[in-house]
């Protein structure tokens, strides 16, 4: 077998047995890593593959979470019915934003700021929407956590871990398929030079919309997971620009446009964040803000010294092609 395949099999095997070895804390950290690995992979479809910078991906997480959450909260309709609705709503929102932006020639920084504007607009909108609890939040009922109830996506923490693992691996496979498909080639052509792509006869507008739709739809699944994992939703939390930044960080740190970069980036970031928290608590230096300062300094270091992220140089070290 080829070296990359062997490595991948080892990592997935380790991830599969992880819940048996880990305590509850480690399991929650593992779930978080997979959550961010998946979500940043979804963002990467839009930016890394098609070159469209979104700084407002929290919008799609929020739409997914609130769509599935509200169905459950108001009508006791489980997540499996909520999931397709969430995906469809987020994809439609993404297409609507993309349609407007690309039709009116909004691109680059302007497009990025537009995505922030839509996310913030929606955040404040949800703050004033009493149907979903407004700023006071929406709380999903949790009847039990002991036995696995797949229908309502309820069960012990390991259930959520495996769900997220399946999503992360699924997204990896899906994205690798995408990259090898016609869409993947078209997207990269658009990313590198939109005018040239257009001149080659690529319907740039349509393919960009497809990237937004896929990215938004994938991100909505994170939202549904978020709703049923945390069981409480606040607009301030879920739509906040800092949530969008968290989603982006994994890809930027790991390597934008690569398949494994987002996963590596998410793992590094979560482990760093948790590690710093633990270390500061152990040293008794846990002043509010100290963790984020260290985190910020590390980010700065990575962005300055590893312009293409951690994964490309790491892959070379490991003897893999990138």
């Amino acid at each position: 077998m080829k070296r990359p395949v062997v490595l991948l099999v080892i990592v997935v095997a380790l991830a599969l047995v992880f819940p048996w070895l880990a305590g509850p804390y480690a399991l929650s950290v593992g779930t978080l890593i997979l959550y961010f690995a998946y979500t940043t992979q979804a963002w990467n479809v839009m930016m890394g593959f098609a070159g469209q910078l979104s700084l407002g991906h929290s919008l799609y997480v929020g739409i997914g979470a609130y769509a599935a959450g509200a169905l459950y909260y108001h009508y006791e309709i489980g997540p499996w019915a909520g999931l397709p609705l969430a995906i469809a709503l987020a994809a439609l929102t993404g297409v609507a934003i993309g349609f407007l932006a690309f039709r009116f020639g909004v691109s680059g920084v302007y497009f990025a700021l537009l995505t922030i504007a839509f996310a913030e607009f929606t955040r404040i909108g949800f703050d004033h929407l009493s149907w979903t609890g407004g700023p006071g939040g929406m709380f999903l009922k949790v009847e039990q956590r002991e036995t696995i109830d797949l229908l309502h996506f309820r069960g012990p923490p390991a259930l959520y871990y495996y769900a997220m693992l399946a999503l992360a691996v699924g997204a990896l496979a899906f994205c690798s398929k995408l990259l090898g498909s016609r869409a993947g080639y078209y997207w990269r052509a658009i990313r590198e030079n939109e005018d040239a792509a257009q001149a080659l006869g690529i319907h740039v507008f349509r393919w960009k919309l497809l990237a937004v739709a896929i990215s938004a739809g994938m991100t909505a699944i994170s939202g549904v997971f978020f709703a049923f994992y945390y069981n409480n939703l606040f607009p301030e939390q879920i739509f906040n620009t800092s949530r969008s930044i968290e989603i982006i960080l994994g890809s930027v740190i790991g390597g934008v446009g690569t398949l494994f970069g987002p996963i590596v980036g998410a793992a590094v970031l979560i482990l760093l964040s948790e590690g710093v928290t633990e270390a500061l608590a152990a040293l008794g230096w846990a002043i509010p803000g100290s963790k984020q300062v260290i985190y910020g300094v590390v980010l700065l270091g990575v962005v300055v010294f590893l312009p293409h992220g951690i994964w490309p140089p790491l892959a070379r070290r490991l003897g893999l092609r990138t």
């Binding site: 302007y110 700021l113 922030i116 504007a117 004033h128 700023p135 803000g289 984020q292 312009p307």
Partner: protein, 289 residues
Amino acid sequence: LSFDLVANVIIAGFLTGLVYGLMALGLSVIFGVVRVVNFAHGEMMTVAMYAATLLFAKFALDPFLAIAPVAVVFFILGYALQAGLINPFITRPEHSQFMLLVAVGMIVINGLLMAFGPDARSVQVDYQLDSLEFGEILVDKARLYAAGVAVVTALALYGFFRFSLTGKAIRACADNHFAAKVVGLDVKRLYALTFGLGSVCVAVAGCALTLLIDVTPSLGPYYTLLAFVIVIVGGLGSMVGALVGGVLIGVSEALAGLLIAPSAKSMLSFGLLILVLLIRPQGLFGRKS
């Protein structure tokens, strides 16, 4: 809802808007020349606000007088930030620049949080509650002075860009980066100078704002977003646009706070931002690129 009340709110919004405009002017100048969006803009202004409140607490220095030392320090910091960190990022993709400035902003806000804690700080000067009366219309003195300082600073900056040789050189860099290099301009130094000047706008606006609002570390991201809204509405890179955009946002937020709900006021701003981006992406006063 009387006419006087609405008029008072509009005037207050107008004056505050001019100070917002000066803050946004800093962002606009930096983007117009360096072509980097300063995602740490509001965070930088929060630092200026803290500097003014500290100088007031320690030396009873009036925030308007604090402008001088704070502006000097901010010019140096801005220059150093551009020369040391951002210049190497000029040719990097946008998401890379974004991440760099987000990291800077994160360090700044949380550094402030570590140093001063989460509590709001403010200054109290004796003229703060005074107001000028024009019949039923009351104008806060502090707000009027703040707006005056903002306008004077903006005019000075305009004069610098219009008439000084260095200002002209900076505009040449903005118009054509490559040609500016060809004629022998030290583009990197001019970029650093521009970032320094943008930081001065932030410093002045921050000092003036301490008289109008209390400062907490968490203000940063909000003001960054506000600066984006103003600058996009007015036109990125346009000096007049930044001030007009500031006034527009200042008045519309004040009115929305009065007529709809205080918490909904920034929804209006973001709505306006979306509209402008779609209908006139270059902004009200921007040139088509």
